[in-house]
């Protein structure tokens, strides 16, 4: 080829221009994210400069303040009408500030706050050498069982880096459902994933399992995000843009001016379909839908329980938010293509999650599978492709996340010599030894099972109703059947706790600090309130049920 052509190759794009106009950023509308990110950076600085003994307090303080402030900002925005009337696209079209994103951001922030409390809990483990310790490794770098580790423990080190990590993850999660172009989506995905990979590796007890969980999560996560990225590339190739709005237009086929290249790529559906499928796959991986679920049990089991709780709750919320936006904003034009596929995924997810859970013997794995089943239920709502569908999913996510955190918080309380006693056999007769804890856990289990008067039932009813109205009656029937199956193993745990004789060498129930108590209390409160009087929150979700284009 001629030099001119070569020259063109890298100059065409850049015509000479006189001045660069700065991008217009609506800082106010992005404030929640910005606050959290800022706080995270502050946290890093604290790690660098604040003396070790006071880091913990500083970090907890900063994180709490940041999360509360961010939540306040979300509320302010919502109150200001950004959720409904003034919903718009900010930051040069890369962030959508609308009902769903605000609702989900609020949920994520609250979940993160509650999760943070469990992170900060220091009463459960016996004090090592007079130092209160939390459930994270004294020094992640030191080899398990090595002298350095012992030294670290003796010195009373604690990994206070978890707090900034948490905040970074939260920042990613805040952006994820709000992302309005594929690039932001991808970046947000990585920003929320990478800190989680690390957090998984930081357990104080059972470190080998923890590290294994981290590796699995990391490798599979990276693998998935590679797929996502390739999908993004293909979508970009198809539409010539990464902005949701543009892609949607191209998909619908109503583009203002069509240049020949675009016309060419537009003609090529394979790009669109494969690309959409791959991006969706990346999101399905995050929500833990079958067949991309296999990381879930292992990671849930291996990760430090507070992290598991936080991850199970917040990640699902963020990921479903992103999924909703992708399907409702970008791909509504091709829903006849993706709905059947999603049907299949939802059905398989519900059934596999429910059935495999029956034979689990570890409480954390059990909850992992239950979370898979729930992902299936939520997908049923996603498929509805109606405003009700959106709002039902939003409500379900809110209800589910608090139950989850609460449940895992309870798991952290039941301990024996080796740390948390997660094997089910050890839970036998817990109801006799400490009725209150058992009762609370029973409440959570009943909520998972979707028994009326718990938030679980309201949510399940909402999504099934939406699905049925969307014409997915068979889906509802299968959902009902699988929840009958699922009910079995929740009940099994209750039987174990209340009706079987306690073991003499059974676990003890640690007396937690107000932090965990708050976490659990919030969980119970939300479960009951959303179960008995869900009206207000349903309205909220309903108002928030509209995406901005």
């Amino acid at each position: 080829m001629s030099t001119a052509v070569v020259h063109n190759l890298w100059t065409t794009a850049a015509d000479p221009i006189s001045k660069i106009d700065a991008p217009k950023i609506e800082y106010g509308q992005l404030s929640p994210t910005l606050i959290v990110v800022g706080a995270a950076i502050v946290g890093v600085i604290i790690e660098a400069f604040v003396p070790r003994r006071s880091r913990y307090y500083a970090q907890v303080f900063v994180s709490v303040v940041a999360l509360c402030a961010a939540f306040a900002a979300v509320v302010a925005l919502a109150a200001d009408g950004y959720g409904t009337t003034k919903a718009q696209i900010a930051a040069m079209g890369s962030i959508a500030v609308d009902g769903p994103s605000l609702f989900l951001q609020g949920t994520i922030l609250l979940a993160a706050l509650v999760g943070l409390f469990t992170f900060a809990e220091r009463r459960l483990d016996p004090a090592a050498h007079g130092n209160r310790v939390d459930s994270f490794a004294a020094q992640a770098a030191s080899v398990p069982g090595s002298d350095s580790e012992k030294a670290a423990v003796k010195a009373g080190f604690t990994t206070t880096e978890v707090f900034p990590l948490l905040l970074f993850a939260v920042a990613g999660m805040l952006v994820f459902p709000a992302a309005n172009d594929l690039l932001t989506l991808f970046v947000a995905l990585e920003v929320l994933s990478l800190p989680l990979y690390l957090l998984c590796a930081l357990a104080r007890r059972k470190r080998l399992m923890s590290q294994e969980a981290a590796v699995k999560y990391f490798l599979l996560g990276a693998f998935a995000s590679a797929f996502t990225l390739f999908g993004i590339a293909l979508l970009y190739g198809y539409a010539g843009s990464v902005s949701y709005a543009t892609i949607a237009q191209v998909v619908d086929g109503n583009v203002p001016r069509i240049d020949p290249v675009l016309a060419n790529t537009m003609g090529n559906d394979a790009l669109l379909l494969i690309g959409a499928a791959m991006v969706t796959m990346g999101l399905l991986f995050k929500v833990g839908a079958v067949p991309f679920h296999m990381w879930t049990p292992d990671v849930y089991q291996g990760a430090p329980t507070p992290v598991t709780g936080f991850m199970a709750a917040a990640t699902k919320v963020a990921a479903f938010g992103a999924l909703l936006r992708l399907l409702y904003v970008v791909l509504p034009g091709m829903r006849w293509d993706w709905r059947p596929v999603m049907w299949a995924v939802a059905i398989v997810t519900m059934l596999v999650g429910a059935i495999v859970a029956i034979t689990q013997t570890d409480i954390k794995r059990l909850l992992a599978y239950s979370s898979i089943a729930h992902a299936g239920f939520i997908l049923a709502g996603v498929i509805a492709t109606s405003r009700d569908g959106v709002s039902s999913v939003l409500f379900y996510l809110a209800a589910y996340s608090f139950v989850t955190i609460g449940a895992f918080a309870v798991v952290t309380l039941v301990r024996d010599a080796g740390g948390e006693a997660t094997h089910l056999s050890k839970w036998a007769g817990l109801g006799r030894r400490s009725p209150l804890v058992a009762a609370v856990f029973a409440v959570f289990l009943l909520a998972f099972a979707g028994i009326p008067l718990t938030s679980g039932f309201a949510g399940k009813f909402a999504v099934f109703k939406a699905a049925a109205e969307g014409g997915a009656v068979p889906l509802v029937v299968i959902g009902v059947i699988s929840s009958a199956v699922a009910a079995f193993f929740y009940i099994r745990v209750i039987v174990l706790m209340f009706f079987s004789e306690p073991r003499p060498e059974g676990p003890t129930v640690a007396v937690p600090s107000p932090l965990t108590i708050t976490a659990i209390g919030v969980g119970v409160a939300v479960t009951v309130v959303l179960g008995v009087a869900p009206q207000y929150f349903l309205d909220l979700a309903n108002q928030a049920g509209v995406f901005v284009r």
């Binding site: 590796v215 699995k216 490798l219 599979l220 693998f223 998935a224 797929f227 559906d269 394979a270 379909l273 494969i274 959409a276 499928a277 791959m278 969706t280 796959m281 991986f285 079958v290 067949p291 991309f292 296999m294 990381w295 049990p297 292992d298 091709m334 006849w336 293509d337 993706w338 059947p340 596929v341 299949a344 995924v345 596999v352 059935i355 495999v356 859970a357 029956i358 034979t359 689990q360 199956v485 079995f488």
Partner: protein, 648 residues
């Protein structure tokens, strides 16, 4: 005057309530309370009777409405009583005989610590029986019907510590339930047909419906009658019912309750008249039963069982008569009343004998008792003459009329039925003579015999009697027991004549049941003569067999028929094998099925889901790379599916 009717029932009901709820503090006087209230009821009955007599024949139906029992749209069951000649007859019989037997029981049950309860049950029975005969609609009748069933259940099983008694009681109730089922279905049919089951409308509309319907109703009523009156095929319970105290056998299983079936048929005359084929069935049942009972009666060595057989047979006569329609209704009731007298008398006599013989029931261990218990001997003897129909005594009149009526049916049926009735008369004469001879004549077979007594364990818990079982000291029963026997004896002697002279009874009852003279091929005289001949033959054979030659204490093996008859003509064995055993097998296999099949299906599904879970669980093998494989495959599937969707 009508308002007195309720009191008839109220009195004994009150007694039952007081005695059963009252508790031990009434033990001392309980029996007198019971007797008194029975007598009160009888008194009221007499008053009402006098009142009825005072009215003209068509004014003799009194009704009393108490309250609405079951009010549901279209279904009106009221508690209304109807007192007419028919029910009046029964009222007098029930309360009269009832009072006497109450009195008798005072003596008979003297040593029983639960005597108060016994009288409570007796009063309960009286109340229920009166309700039965006074009810103005079939549902209320059903109430009384099951009520007497309950009373008989309680009284048969009164000595509950005897397993035999408890079983017999249960058997009686169950067999009766089968009959009750018939009554229930009959009532349903009536409701579906007439929209009501009150006597008045049903009888008046009986003509409006098809004969088929009437036949169905009639047959169902017959089924009920068979159950209550121990007619073939539902007769099996009566023999076992003799486990109960003898007064019970006298009152319930001879005089009153067992005749309720006859009452039902006669009461439902309007229905039966409209269903000739059903009537034929009734007559057949009656004829068969009267022979069946008689044959069984011949073979039994247990005095009460022998009498039970005879009861069966006598009721057979009544049913036969009732089946004949207007020709026979009156005589059925007449025989019912006379039978009430003499059979009750006979049972009381038997009770008195047992009382004197330490409750020995085997007649082969009696003999020559006439000089030890003269009163019993005479009253029993009179009853005996009455039942075999000795000229002049009550049985003579009533039974003779029935035989005449049977012939009067006319045609071959007439001959067959009449023949059966005659044959029955002969057999009756035989087995009653046998009873008489074995008990009161011949050598005293109860002397110096070994202790081993095949009889039931003693009925009275008083243990000291048992010791002296070896050598009984026959003695006359106390006054309180003999008086009722005497009264009943008088009744059985004079009753028939009193009723028949100038057809008193006929005119009394006719307005209710209606009556028609059949056209008998034989003159009344011929029939009577024939009856006398049969009677003589029966007595003669019996005398030849038991009067002249000594009777072995241990029963000889006997002919095939005898052995069959001893076992109720194998009818019980049939029940046992077919119903009891079969039922047991059925239920056992059902229990098994319920567990394996129905439960199994459910548990099976659960298990299979569990198995599936276990297998799917193994896919989670812990290797990151296999997870990646599933992801990769999943992604491939996703892409393929999406493309496919667009393709199709």
């Amino acid at each position: 005057m009508e308002n007195l009717i309720a009191l008839l029932i109220a009195a004994p009901l009150l007694g039952a309530a007081v005695l059963l709820v009252g508790g031990r503090r009434l033990d001392a006087v309980g029996h007198w309370i019971g007797t008194l209230l029975a007598a009160v009821s009888f008194g009221i009955g007499l008053v009402l009777f006098a009142d009825l007599l005072g009215r003209s024949a068509d004014q003799r139906t009194l009704t009393q409405h108490l309250f609405s029992w079951i009010p549901v749209a279209g279904f009106q069951a009221d508690v209304t009583f109807r007192l007419d000649q028919l029910s009046m007859t029964f009222v007098l019989l029930i309360t009269g005989v009832g009072s006497l037997i109450h009195l008798y029981s005072v003596g008979y049950m003297e040593h029983d610590e639960r005597r108060r309860r016994f009288f409570g049950y007796l009063n309960l029975f009286l109340a229920a029986m009166l309700l039965l005969v006074l009810a103005d609609n079939y549902l209320l009748l059903y109430f009384g019907w099951e009520g007497v069933g309950l009373a008989s259940y309680l009284l048969i099983g009164f000595w509950q510590h005897k397993p035999g008694a408890a079983t017999a009681a249960k058997k009686a109730f169950l067999v009766n339930r089968v009959g009750d089922m018939g009554l229930a279905i009959a009532i349903m049919l009536m409701f579906a047909t007439f929209g009501t089951f009150a006597f008045g409308p049903v009888f008046s509309h009986a003509g409006d419906t098809s004969e088929g319907r009437l036949t169905a109703i009639a047959l169902m009523l017959l089924l009920a009658a068979c159950g209550k009156s121990a007619q073939v095929p539902l007769q099996s319970w009566l023999g076992d019912a003799m486990e109960g105290p003898t007064p019970v056998s006298a009152l319930i299983h001879a005089a009153t309750m067992v005749t309720a079936g006859v009452y039902l048929i006669v009461r439902s005359a309007a229905v039966f008249n409209g269903a000739p084929s059903a009537q034929l069935v009734v007559t057949v049942v009656g004829a068969v039963t009267l022979l069946f009972g008689a044959i069984v009666g011949c073979a039994k060595d247990d005095i009460k069982k022998a009498l039970a057989g005879s009861t069966m047979s006598q009721i057979g006569y009544m049913v036969l008569a009732a089946g004949l329609g207007p020709i026979g209704y009156v005589f059925a009731i007449m025989h019912l009343v006379t039978h009430g007298f003499f059979k009750a008398g006979l049972f009381l006599g038997a009770g008195s004998v047992m009382h004197g013989m330490n409750d020995e029931v085997d007649m082969r261990k009696y003999g020559g008792l006439r000089k030890y218990m003269p009163v019993t001997f005479i009253t029993f003897g009179l009853g005996y003459l009455a039942i075999i129909g000795f000229p002049g005594l009550s049985g003579f009149f009533s039974k003779d009329k029935i035989i005449e009526a049977a012939f009067a049916k006319g045609g071959t049926e007439g001959w067959i039925l009449g023949g059966a009735a005659l044959l029955g008369a002969a057999i009756t004469a035989f087995y009653m003579t046998r009873v008489m001879l074995l008990t009161f004549f011949g050598e005293e077979r109860w002397r110096n015999r070994p202790t081993a007594s095949p009889a039931e364990p003693d009925v009275e818990p008083a243990a000291e009697d048992r010791g002296t079982r070896a050598e009984p000291h026959p003695h006359e029963s106390p006054r309180v027991m003999t008086i009722p026997m005497i009264v009943l004896a008088v009744g059985s002697v004079l009753g028939g004549a009193f009723f028949s002279i100038g057809d008193r009874f006929l005119h009394w009852l006719e307005p209710v049941t209606g009556h028609s003279e059949g056209n008998s091929p034989l003159s009344a005289l011929t029939v009577t003569a024939a009856t006398m001949v049969c009677l003589a033959i029966g007595v003669a054979i019996a005398w030849a067999q038991y009067g002249r030659k000594p009777v072995p204490v241990v029963a000889p093996r006997g002919s095939l028929l005898t052995r069959a008859a001893r076992r109720d003509l194998l009818q019980d064995d049939f029940n046992h094998v077919v119903l009891v055993r079969g039922g047991e097998h059925l239920t056992r296999s059902l229990v098994y099925l319920d567990h394996t099949l129905i439960d199994g299906v459910v548990n099976g599904t659960a298990a299979s889901v569990g198995g599936l879970s276990g297998r799917m669980r193994r896919l989670q093998n812990g290797f990151a790379r296999s997870y990646a494989v599933s992801m990769f495959g999943g992604a491939a599937l996703l892409v393929a599916a999406t493309l496919l969707m667009r393709a199709v």
